[in-house]
Amino acid sequence: MFDEKDIILEAKHVTRRFPAAGGRELTACNDVNLKLYRGRTLGLVGESGCGKSTFMRFLVWLDTPTEGEIIYKGKDITKLRGQELWENRQHIQMVFQDPSTSFNPKMRIKDIVCEPLLNYGRIKPSEKDAKARELLEMVELPGDFADRFPHNMSGGQRQRVAIARALALEPEIIVMDEATSALDVSVQKTIIELITRLQREKGITIGFICHNLGLIQSFAHQVAVMYLGNIVEVMPGEIVSKQAMHPYTKALIASVFDTKMDFSKKIDPIRGEPPSPLDLPTGCPFQDRCDRCMELCRRERPALHEVGPEHEVACHLFAKGGEEA
């Protein structure tokens, strides 16, 4: 399903540490290795504070990793500066969680969606009206919205504008940070349908951050689960419900409420909350909440290893080949 030659962006051993009070360090991302494939969606799932946004922000140069490299078009993009960086920003764009705070409230919609194009000199100011109309129609909004202000629109409509703005430069990669979390469930569905349609038509690669495993597995080709800065499992989206292995992934699955579940069964969530990323234990980051924790898990941090096609798990329970050790 995934081909090596379709790799469009590759993160290698990316680590980000933030200095904290008392000379300590907070490790937000620890040795993250991920690949984005052309025209595919990578879903990054995890709870608040697990480092998923920190990682995605590297791709759009909102932050740089402490260690490691991110290869895009044969170059390490974390080292780009000046003109070259500016040129590259066209190719990777971002959609934020809350569209009402990522727009300038005093700009009209047409100025918002055309700003990137004017920045890069792709259109003349006189072409703005026509282009804005075209972009709005692409995201299934009436072209007349071009003259509105952000506050005249609903949350779902604003999120469509944010997608139009991100797509204006025809980027190869779009990063979406919880792009549907602030929306009602019925609106969320229409946004996901829009994103998947645009992806099919334009072959865009998407990096999607989400905390809802039920949602992400419905449209991501590849799902990566993150816990306390570590990637604990990577697998194709369609096997999430059946073949997930890592105890944390299973705990996330057990926490999904959906309307087709068995209501007579008591839900059995994992206990406790993630520990502070400031004092990470040695060994497996998930050890204190895992009910199958072994002595080995307290000593040694498990590395990601392959357990099936495109399926990697970082857990001592599963030796090579996916058999339980």
């Binding site: 969606t41 709870e47 608040s48 949350g155 009602d184 469930v185 019925s186 609106v187 969320q188 569905k189 996901i192 349908e193 998947t196 992806q199 905390h211 809802n212 495993l213 039920g214 949602l215 597995q217 419905s218 449209f219 991501a220 080709h221 989206g237 369609e238 999430v240 419900s241 059946k242 705990a251 996330l252 699955i253 057990a254 926490s255 999904v256 409420f257 959906d258 309307t259 087709k260 579940m261 209501f263 008591k266 839900i267 059995d268 969530p269 994992i270 206990r271 909350e273």
Partner: protein, 262 residues
């Protein structure tokens, strides 16, 4: 006699009617979920039950009966005795409803002493006991913390513990898990279900999450634009209803192993 009856209630702000003709009957020990999109009026309805409509809001028609007695004509003194004693409410972020500059214990003691004549020490102990009963570890440390020092899940548990101090007959929960992570949400949902099993508390749950609504609710009420669009018991709402809007909402819930878009 039903525990709570909302009869043909209209709620208005000034001359504008925002919620029209809502009806709801809740028996002892029953859980009712109210779902709907933002702005559908679901929060307004439960705020009206506790007489907490924000400035200018009022019940302009119909009646709300709690144990057969109308809530609409209550005096301030009667309201104070009822709120937090017979009817409690949990908010989306229980930390934000507390005074940020006071210890949780100090807010808790004040709350207990408005309902009971206890010394401060006794009230403190009662509060700490209540936290321990809601399975909050290290309850004394939590009493000595400020709201912002606790995680979202802990704050929500503190809110539930406060609301449950007098074992209210009715618990109103306004999006109690919407701000939480999925695993914490599952823990809170489980805890609320246990309240019903242990204390027989009736719960009205307002949420936009149909999965949670379906899991918890014996009854489900769907609201749209200030009206009750559809209502019924869970089995009916999930499998038998022919209401198009309910169907639309149900279809939009992502389901593990369900529909895939790619």
């Amino acid at each position: 006699m039903a525990l709570l009856e909302i009869q043909h209630v209209d709620i208005s702000y000034g001359n504008r009617v925002t919620v029209t003709d809502s009806n709801l009957t809740l028996e002892q020990g029953e859980i009712c979920s109210i779902v709907g999109e933002s702005g559908s009026g679901k929060t307004t309805v439960i705020r009206a039950v506790l007489g907490l409509l924000p400035g200018g809001g009022r019940v302009s028609a119909g009646d709300i009966l709690f144990e057969g007695k109308s809530l609409l004509g209550l005096s301030q003194k009667e309201w104070r005795a009822l709120r937090g004693h017979d009817i409690s409410m949990i908010f989306q972020d229980s930390g934000a409803m507390m005074n940020q500059t006071r210890l949780i214990g100090s807010s808790f003691v004040e709350y207990i002493r408005t309902h009971e004549e206890l010394s401060k020490q006794e009230a403190w102990k009662k509060g700490a006991d209540m936290l321990a009963r809601m399975r909050l570890p290290d309850s004394d440390r939590i009493m000595r913390s400020y709201p912002f020092q606790l995680s979202g899940g802990m704050r929500q548990r503190v809110g539930i513990a406060m609301g449950m101090t007098y074992q209210p007959k009715l618990l109103l929960a306004d999006e109690p898990t919407s701000a939480l992570d999925v695993t914490t949400q599952a823990q809170i949902v489980r805890q609320m279900m246990e309240l019903r099993d242990e204390y027989g508390t009736s719960i009205i749950l307002v949420t936009h999450d149909l999965g949670v609504a379906a899991y918890m609710g014996d009854k489900i009420v769907v609201m749209k634009n200030g009206r009750i669009e559809d209502a019924g018991d869970r089995g009916h709402m999930l499998h038998e209803t022919d209401n198009a809007y309910t169907q639309l909402l149900l279809d939009a819930v992502p389901s593990l192993g369900g529909k895939r878009y790619v």
